[in-house]
Subunit: 194 residues, 2 copies
DNA sequence: GTCTATAATTCGATAGAC
DNA sequence: GTCTATCGAATTATAGAC
């Protein structure tokens, strides 16, 4: 009951802040950082452009606030080891289609160094953390990187570039094809020549 | 010997055109379409910005000219079937590190619809053509799409976002890890649930 | 807390001299 | 064939009225 600071009354500005953030995520996701203008974001949030500056300081500050993202990965070591690929691919597909922030990040990370750094942090920290206790610590980062290469490639071709054959696959087919790849990157043997 | 129009004398402007194209590829590859300015491209080519307009009409026209790309894929059906994954991953790594145009395309395809269309065309046409006679024609596009998802994911994480574990892998290790994935997408059995 | 007005840049594109 | 000068539009960001 006292877990919240219990503001004497809900500030009216909270709704505005949230509306700005929602609009920002939508515009950044659809157009990327450069093509998204503060004016367009404000228009979508139905507020004045200057409010964006007031609340977030600058366009970069707004993006930083909009680009917070939790992959919500479970601890992989506690799941059935032979189903990890399937579970992980399914989890990412759900996460991707339920929150457009990830698409915004990918779009932006290709041109903005700041967003690329955020992307590196998200995958390095969250994915590596989720893999704790799963693989040899020396190899864990490498395996996480390989998983990221397939997962992000799937996102790029399905949600960003929209390559027709990848778009047309339904989630079950996608899982069936891609899960073995992720499974091998996670738990497969280290190749001889590596 | 008569395969070329044999211009009476080499036009001086050819060198300028080539310099512009080279600079454009470099800027587009480094910064993407939006952040690349005609002024910056002209400065890098050490010519006047108005020359860019004169030769290519507009910024979009310049990009279209700079984004021509041949993956130079061999006919896969004529190669040893069980080495296709390895050969293809190696080919793409070489192609990617030898020509920055591909990186420019990926960077730009994430924000520019025109560049995304170009990307779809390149992978749909060239990759599907290279796979002629390799797989059931009904399944070929799907398999090509899956290959693209892994190859483009590799490019995204290694050359664009620069995820440290993926950057640190040397080409031989990368081939050893990723080739089996591509091999399965190309020649593996269709999964049961698909 | 919200909006108007505008400053300060920057860019793509054009016109025209040489 | 190359360059100077500049237009017109769009942007981020600021100052200040209400």
């Amino acid at each position: 009951m006292t877990s919240e600071p219990a503001p004497t009354r809900a500030r009216r500005s909270d709704a505005t802040r949230a509306a700005i953030l929602r609009a920002a995520r939508e515009r950044f996701a659809a157009d990327g950082y450069d093509r998204s203008t503060i004016r367009a974001i404000a228009a979508e949030a139905r507020i004045d452009p200057s409010m964006v500056m007031r609340y977030y300081g600058s366009k970069e500050g707004l993006f930083a606030a909009a680009a917070e993202f939790d992959l919500r990965l479970p601890a992989l070591a506690e799941l059935p080891r032979e189903q990890l690929g399937e579970l992980l691919v399914r989890h990412f597909l759900d996460r991707w289609e339920g929150d457009e922030t990830l698409a915004a990040l990918v779009r932006t990370a290709t041109t903005s160094p700041g967003a690329a750094e955020r992307m590196r942090a998200i995958f390095a920290e969250q994915l590596t953390a989720a893999m704790a206790g799963l693989a040899d610590p020396t190899e864990a980062p490498r395996r996480a990187g390989l998983v990221a290469s397939q997962i992000l490639g799937l996102a790029l071709t399905r949600y960003i570039i929209r390559l027709p054959p990848v778009v047309d696959l339904d989630p079950a087919e996608l899982v069936a094809w891609v899960a073995p790849t992720v499974q091998r990157y996670l738990t497969g043997p280290t190749p001889a020549s590596a």
